[in-house]
């Protein structure tokens, strides 16, 4: 349920870097320290490697546009509902301002980007959530965009691939945010009943109401290495149980060990794994009609 108060954090350099023209690597180029191996990585190199550390493989966060660029075939992405966005219909304290600021800083109108794309020549419907838009929280616009995507995929008999990242339901939209969990689940169920494939890729972090709805509803559930994946927040669990959390609690590897994730999919293997899965299911499946 929580979201990162990202406006207090320094502006994401990666985002700016992605909008700059490519420059030759030089000593003055801005770099970023890898939190795992502490190496300084020039931004252009990081960007070229899908925001992963070349040395230790650490997966940095990435915004929706970067991810679409890395995952889909060049120029194949066609976006749906780019203008759709939530309003502050509850007059919730600070929400209107937060939406405006978030839009300015992230350049996005909402926390999910949806559309169709090709992955190694195979067509799919795609949604990508954005950690830089209120930590991918799900409000009414996110729920509506995901629902429309699944409805489109069902009508056109297309598989859906979805990258999740979320702090959960967006509290600033109250009960109607919560209702999006049921609404999106209904749309996923209809897509599933039509015999169509849905692959989710859980990225860091996938929590709360998104975990408890469409993130965990895939036919095949993949996860990026070492992503935080869970329902309740780790701090809340610590406070509730007064127990020390085990090592590696609520990570992709933990979810794999406990049987809730099919496989860990590192970013540089995702195109290959997912396109193979799409191909294996391209026979059309069983039409439950």
């Amino acid at each position: 349920m929580s979201f990162i108060n990202f406006l207090n954090k320094p502006k994401n350099e990666l985002e700016s870097a992605s909008k700059l023209p490519p420059v030759a690597s030089d000593e003055n180029e801005p770099s970023k320290a890898c939190p795992e191996c502490h190496r300084q990585i020039p931004l252009s190199q990081l960007w070229a490697n899908c925001n992963c550390c070349r040395d230790c493989g650490y997966h940095f966060r990435m915004n929706a546009r970067q991810r679409i660029h890395c995952f889909t075939d060049a120029d194949s992405f066609k976006e749906f509902d780019p203008e759709l966005q939530s309003e502050d219909f509850l007059a919730f304290p600070g929400y209107k301002k937060k939406l405006e600021l978030t839009e300015t800083v992230s350049g996005e109108k909402e926390a999910v980007t949806c559309g169709t794309a090709l992955v190694r020549g195979l067509e799919c419907c795609l949604f990508v959530m954005d950690p830089y838009f209120m930590m991918g929280s799900m409000g009414t616009a996110v729920g509506e965009k995901i629902t429309r995507l699944f409805e489109y995929a069902t009508r056109h008999r297309l598989p859906v691939v979805g990258f999740t990242v979320s702090g959960g339901a967006r509290m600033q939209e109250g009960l109607l945010s919560l209702m999006q969990m049921a609404k999106t689940s209904g749309a996923v169920q209809r897509h599933s009943d039509a015999g169509l494939l849905y692959i989710t890729v859980l990225t860091n972090p996938t929590t709360g109401g998104v975990t408890a709805s469409f993130a965990m509803e895939g036919d095949i559930i993949l996860a990026e290495p070492k992503a935080t994946v869970g329902f309740a927040g780790a701090r809340v669990i610590e406070q509730t149980t007064r127990k020390k959390l085990p090592q590696g609690f609520q990570t992709s590897e933990f979810m794999l060990e406990h049987g809730f994730v099919d496989a860990i999919a590192p970013r540089d293997k995702q195109r290959q794994i997912i396109s193979t899965l799409l191909k294996m299911h391209s026979g059309g499946g069983q039409d439950a009609g």
Binding site: A169, L175, T211, A212
Partner: protein, 270 residues
């Protein structure tokens, strides 16, 4: 309905003196036979399920139970279900579908349990599966929120054809305390958060997230239960006239429309 601060309704909804799920089972139904266990791991005492008569109609009943008194409340985990509770509910709903029985869910929880083992057993996955199953269940479901409707843990038994709330029940995406501590880093501002979250039954009705508000004038008395029982019988009577296809289409559209009114660029045909 008298004007009452949202936080006061939260306090009333959480009160230990309110009737709990089992009280509703005892007073609304007859010949209740409890069915235990999720057939996978355990039986969750925070969710009580079984088959009973509603008037002359066999129904599946699934109720969250907080318990009365300190000892029973502890044994019920204060009404905070574990994944096995949701999986038991899921099993019983599918059983109801198989035998064409309507389902009544009684919802009262501060939320799904936040525990290490709950995460290990897939709390998120258990709730998600319930949502998918309920959204396509081919038998009528009515959920009644009798106290706390705490986030996804409550919704997991409320993806229903109709959702009713008792006058002092609350339904919220997050607890007022949790909201206040995120928003203002101050859990003592829960009253303001409760107001902002629009979590009362009247708010939920205005947001079209529920169909009915049940007055509490005679709460816990025979008159209260018999009135609620008559309403359930009447509503199941009309829902049962729908074909399973029409029923699931209606339920899908019920949730499909929620949130669409308040979007920018929402002129797209749904």
């Amino acid at each position: 309905m008298p004007d009452k601060a949202a936080i006061d309704r939260v306090k009333t909804a959480r009160s230990n003196n309110r009737p709990t799920g089992v009280d509703f089972i005892e007073n609304l139904f007859s010949d209740f036979i409890e069915l235990h266990g999720d057939r996978r791991y355990a039986d969750d005492p925070a969710i009580v399920g079984g088959i009973a008569y509603l008037g002359s109609m066999p129904v599946t009943v699934i109720a969250m139970e907080k318990g009365h008194g300190a000892r029973e409340r502890m044994s019920r985990n204060f009404g905070a279900p574990n994944p096995e509770g949701y999986r038991k509910a899921c099993r019983l709903m599918k059983q109801a579908e198989k035998f064409g029985r309507p389902v009544v869910c009684i919802v009262d929880t501060s939320g799904a349990y936040c525990g290490i083992e709950a995460e290990e057993r897939g709390q998120g996955q258990a709730i998600a599966e319930n949502l998918m199953v309920m959204m396509s269940l081919r038998t009528p479901v009515i959920s009644v929120l009798i106290g706390e409707g705490g986030s996804g843990g409550a919704l997991a038994l409320a993806a229903a054809d109709e959702v009713w709330m008792l006058e002092n029940a609350v339904y919220s995406v997050i607890s007022p305390e949790g909201c206040a501590s995120i928003l203002w880093r101050d859990a003592s501002k829960a009253a303001e958060a409760a107001q902002s979250l629009k979590l009362t039954a009247q708010d939920a009705l205005e947001l079209e997230a529920i169909e009915r508000v049940i007055p509490e004038n005679d709460l816990g008395k025979d008159a209260f239960y018999s009135a609620l029982k008559e309403q359930l019988i009447a509503r199941f009577g009309s829902l049962s006239e729908l074909t399973p296809d029409a029923l699931t289409e209606r339920r899908y559209m019920r949730f499909r429309k929620l949130g669409t009114k308040n979007l920018k660029e929402a002129d797209h045909a749904v």
